[in-house]
């Protein structure tokens, strides 16, 4: 089956500082891929590079969406193709409310109100986006926007970090909905990547594959929950060791 998202040998840099090296990953419709990794290792950079956000420059490799390279597309063109991003740290946009954004996107007002109410965000829709939102509210607002956007490819950057137990249940349910977990496997068209440190969203999602990203490279791929258990027990130590060996090989080959 053609991939929904194909990342091929992707190298990303800011100026002359490399952030990602040789990342290859394919997401088919219905699949969820999970990226773990230490802080500052390039997880968000990968997500944002797929969305086309600055200052992340793709220096080699390709990113294809439904078979076509999207590297030359602007951010909004990628969004309109069906790529949706939940930001780890969304910026405050004081002068634009969820209601105003919804209107500009042509989203039905009742739908916005219903979804906002379900997420406990009814009181926030006329406030500046993320302006003074608590950490948990930001996470809800990100998922709420994706619910309205209905993307085919979801890029969720730590959608559950810093939320309380009850909110976690709520957010997990929303993520399941976004990934069409109510449909039989064969009918699912939505796929995506989730970046997480806690793994707590993974329990009921049956994610396809997990990876550990270390220093901008993918290491230790495997079943997501196995990887999570391994990290929980041993930290990133094993993967770091593997990363160092790979780096040495890479340097050796480069001469």
């Amino acid at each position: 089956m053609k991939g929904l998202l194909e990342i091929e040998n992707l190298t990303v840099a800011i100026g002359d500082k490399p952030l990602l090296t040789g990342v290859t990953l394919t997401v088919a419709p219905g699949e969820i891929h999970v990226v773990f990794g230490p802080n500052g290792t390039g997880k968000s950079s990968l997500i944002k590079a797929i969305m086309g956000l600055p200052p992340y420059q793709v220096t080699s490799g390709d990113v294809r969406f439904e078979g076509e390279s999207i590297l030359n597309l602007a951010i909004d063109e990628r969004a309109r193709l069906g790529i949706g991003l939940a930001f780890q740290q969304p910026p405050a946009v004081r002068d634009v409310s969820l209601a105003a954004l919804g209107k500009a996107l042509g989203i039905d007002k009742d739908k916005l109100h219903d979804e906002a109410t379900q997420l406990g965000m009814r009181g926030h829709i006329n406030r500046g986006l993320n302006d003074g939102f608590s950490g948990g509210e930001q996470k809800r607002s990100e998922l709420l926007q994706l619910l309205l956007q209905q993307p085919k490819l979801l890029l969720l950057d730590e959608p559950e970090s810093g939320v309380d137990v009850d909110s976690l249940k709520l957010l997990t349910a929303v993520i399941e909905r976004l990934f069409q977990r109510d449909l039989p496997i064969r009918e699912r068209t939505v796929g995506g990547i989730i970046v997480t440190h806690t793994g707590s969203v993974l329990k009921h999602l049956h994610a396809t594959r997990g990876y550990v990203l270390v220093n901008g490279r993918i290491m230790c791929s495997g079943a997501p929950l196995d990887i999570f258990d391994q990290i929980s027990e041993n930290g990133f130590g094993n993967c770091l060791a593997e990363a160092r060996i790979k780096e040495k090989i890479h340097d050796f080959l480069k001469g």
């Binding site: 969305m51 602007a74 951010i75 969004a79 309109r80 002068d95 634009v96 954004l101 500009a104 996107l105």
Partner: protein
């Protein structure tokens, strides 16, 4: 007579001649002739100054009591005039006028000079919402509007004063305004200018006595070739007086000086100022000058000011939701200008909202 073309011009500044929008009183001045001066309320006098000087001789004592005729050449110019035209508004004691009153100054003849002196008096415990529109007829380009306005908000009275300027590219505008807010009174001014003008400078001064409040909001969209030097000054001279100045400026190929001064001069006075500006291109200039002056120790004054272009991070965020860059930009500007003003009747807020909407759609950003 006022032609149908003029009527269109008037509606842009919130003046409704059709009677569709409820208004308590109307005043319309064309160049220096009063065309309409009518009130539906017994407790609200809406008249021309020329008539008021005859009918109510005490009005003459109020003239020049808040604005010094020697302030500058423009106040001098008005003072040298024998019998300047203008608008007289008087709300009697305790009268709470339900529907907004409207006045409009129309500059019609080409190269005309409009020299005005206005007096507004709200007697104790009265209330009025006033919307004043100043505009040039669409076929006239050049002209001068020089206006002295003195506003008396007596004890416990409340005036919301919404002023809309919609001039033409060659018009020069010099309002000189003085306000006194007496004990426990409230003066709330909203100034809106969203179209091209050659030159506007105005810096009204409000003196606030004990327990009184003065607030200046201004919303400016300075378009190509415009020069604005606008601000507000609030002197908190009475105990417990409050002052607030909020200004939002968007500038493209134009220059804006945005001034604000709050003086805390008595016990328990509080003042806050917010000057924000968005620069749309490299041919714009915004000079924000927020000033705080304390002349008494027990005062609390603060200000925040931010001027710059729209943050790329915010544009990118909205684009990641599927908005084009242009749509994202205009959504941010719209929201920036669209400050919801406390205490303003919904019908006047709607006038402002519509104007911002029009200013945005007319202009491809």
């Amino acid at each position: 007579m006022t032609s149908s073309k003029d009527k269109l011009d008037l509606r842009k500044v919130g003046y409704d001649e059709t009677g569709n929008t409820p208004r308590s009183a109307s005043f319309l001045l064309e160049d220096d002739t009063a065309r309409v001066a009518a009130s539906k309320e017994r407790e609200l006098v809406m008249d021309s100054m020329r008539k008021a000087r005859v009918d109510y001789p005490w009005v003459k004592d109020l003239e020049w009591s808040l604005v010094n005729p020697d302030t500058d050449e423009f106040t001098r110019h008005v003072a040298d005039h024998d019998d300047p035209a203008g608008n007289f508004i008087h709300v009697l004691e305790g009268a709470k006028i339900r529907f907004p009153a409207q006045s409009c100054f129309l500059l019609k003849a080409e190269r005309n000079e409009q020299v005005l002196h206005n007096i507004i008096v709200l007697e104790p415990d009265s209330e009025l919402h006033l919307i004043t529109g100043c505009t040039a007829a669409s076929y006239s380009n050049a002209g001068k509007h020089i206006a002295v306005t003195e506003i008396f908000v007596r004890k416990g009275a409340t005036l919301t004063y919404t002023m809309v300027h919609d001039w033409a590219p060659e018009v020069e505008v010099r309002p000189r305004t003085g306000i006194v807010v007496e004990q426990g009174g409230t003066y709330l001014s909203n100034y809106i200018a969203l179209t091209r003008v050659k030159h506007i400078d105005t810096n009204p001064l409000a003196t606030v006595k004990s327990g009184g409040t003065a607030r200046f909001n201004s919303i400016l969209y300075a378009k190509e070739g415009s020069f604005f030097d606008v601000g507000g000054r609030i002197r908190l001279l009475g105990e417990g007086a409050r002052g607030e100045i909020v200004s939002r400026v968007v500038a493209t190929k134009s220059s804006v000086i945005s001034r604000g001064l709050i003086e805390g001069g008595n016990a328990d006075t509080k003042g806050h100022m917010e000057c924000n500006g968005i620069m749309l291109d490299d041919q714009a200039m915004i000079h924000a000058i927020p000033e705080l002056k304390a002349t008494y120790p027990d005062t609390e004054l603060s200000h925040e000011a931010a001027v710059g272009k729209i943050a790329g991070e915010q544009l990118n965020y909205l684009m990641a939701r599927g908005l084009s860059e242009e749509m994202a930009r205009s959504l941010i500007i719209r929201g920036f200008l669209n400050v919801k003003i406390d205490g303003l009747p919904a019908s006047l807020q709607k006038v402002i909202d519509t104007m911002i909407e029009q200013a945005m759609t007319k202009e491809a950003i």
